[in-house]
Amino acid sequence: MSTRAIQYLNKKCISFKVVEYEHDEKGAEFAARAIGFPLERTIKTLVVDLGNKNYSFALMPGDKQLALKQLARACKVKRTAMVDTATAERLTGYLVGGISPFGAKQRLTAVIEESLMKYDKVAINAGQRGVMLIMTPGDIIKALDCDVARIIQ
């Protein structure tokens, strides 16, 4: 199994474990159930509009909702908004349900929710529906050079 996300991580010598599952539904909830991983440790990757044609990934626990105002503060912009499916797919080159912050078509900044830092391992999409990566939050930060902030409601 190889995806652009996996190739990206391999190039950066970052370790991870690949877990595949039968993809029937989009979203972190189904993925977490399918791989037997806690939902709060399963990351959903959202694409957010920062204005002026700038976009960012928001890496969220699967069971939480994004706080757009807090994300705006973390990104030092006036306001943020979630992008629609078509925009997310165009920017990342991935299909919704298989969006990974690694190896996206367009290089985007990223912010990871701070509460994820307390877990030794988290699950995150590998860039293909039905494929997840298990890795440490620290390695996600290393791979993306992303900011850590409180961005949940």
């Binding site: 979203g27 069971d63 939480k64 909702q65 979630m82 629609d84 919704v96 349900g97």
Partner: protein, 76 residues
Amino acid sequence: MDKTVLKEGRCIRSEMTVLDIVSRYRKTEVVFKQYDKQAGVCICCQALFEPISKVAVRYGLNLEELLEDLKAAVGE
């Protein structure tokens, strides 16, 4: 010769995903929150990528009422 200008429809439809509705019409987030208790989950957290028709079936919501409330929130 008359020009025909086609514009993208701006109405909320049952086949739209929660993400597409919330991203296009920010005010609808409040409506989804109002349905969270009835659904038993945070809809914007756990059903973001699902069409609202599917969300209604899965969580036992009245689709027509949900659509009406969403449309009312955005003034349709």
